[in-house]
């Protein structure tokens, strides 16, 4: 497929991104660059200085809501990408409504408890909807441990091992690898669904 063909397919798709931190911001930017038509981004947090070592924000955005800053960054890359910016805390009560129109959802939360809540809620309400999870991306090096594991509609990106801590902080290179792997998996899903649809039509 040429990029033009790819872009015309992606422009009709909607991707939800739960969390706009290290994973979410980098994944959103990658998807915006290739021309996903609509992104639903959700995060209640604001940009702080400590975020800049891995999150797709700029120094002059410190203090802004992450959803606001990310929406602006995406607008500067490609203003034709529709961004629905939801500055809110996602809960099992509102997740179904927020992500019901998405073709794929990216899990980009930080805390294990939140990740667990999102995955369970999505599996409960939308077992057929592809969910791309980011799990284990702390520290540096050990690139070869980062993998993709698929289980029905659940796709897990990361090393599934390294938990972030003071001694093992999340850093741009490794976090970026997982975030971009998530975006790459999203592409695989969106482009292959369409191939299937085209094949059965003919």
């Amino acid at each position: 497929m040429t990029f033009d063909q790819i872009k015309s397919i992606l422009s009709t798709k909607t991707v939800g991104i739960a969390g706009c931190g290290g994973l979410g911001s980098n994944c959103a930017v990658a998807l915006a660059r290739v021309g996903v038509g609509r992104l639903i981004i959700a995060d209640f947090d604001s940009v702080s200085e400590g975020n800049l070592n891995r999150q797709y924000f700029f120094r002059d955005q410190i203090g802004l809501l992450k959803t606001q800053a990310l929406k602006e960054n995406i607008r500067r890359i490609d203003s034709s990408v529709m961004v629905e910016a939801l500055a809110m805390k996602l809960t099992k009560g509102n997740i179904p409504a927020v992500f019901s129109s998405c073709d794929v959802v990216v899990e980009a939360f930080d805390r294990a408890g939140e990740k667990e809540m999102l995955i369970e809620t999505m599996l409960r309400f939308f077992p057929g909807k592809p969910l791309v999870v980011g799990l284990g991306m702390a520290g540096w090096g050990k690139s070869e441990l980062i993998h993709l594991r698929k289980s029905d509609n659940l796709y897990i990106c990361g090393d599934e091992l390294s938990e972030v801590s003071e001694e093992l902080p999340p850093l741009a290179p490794r976090v970026g690898m997982v975030a971009n792997m998530q975006a790459n998996v999203v592409l695989e899903i969106l482009l292959s669904i369409t191939n299937y649809e085209l094949r059965i039509k003919n």
Binding site: G19, I119, P127, L135, L154, E160
Partner: protein, 67 residues
């Protein structure tokens, strides 16, 4: 009995076990878990009763912080 756990084949004693028993046998002591049997989500209150049998495909996701 033979089952798959996280896409790996496992040989286990007996012909049935509950999710809780599997976690004990495999030493999965982690608190934050998402478990699926044959593609279906198993909710936490069901861990003591949900049964795993020969040929089942079990996915155990251990959630860790970071993202």
């Amino acid at each position: 009995m033979r089952i798959t756990v996280n896409n790996r084949v496992e040989e286990l004693k007996g012909d049935r076990l509950t999710v809780s028993e599997l976690l004990k046998v495999k030493n999965f002591t982690f608190k934050m878990l998402v478990i699926k049997i044959n593609g279906k989500l198993i909710e936490k209150p069901q861990y003591d009763s949900a049964a795993i049998a020969e040929g089942d495909d079990v996915q155990v996701l251990h959630l860790i912080s970071g993202g």
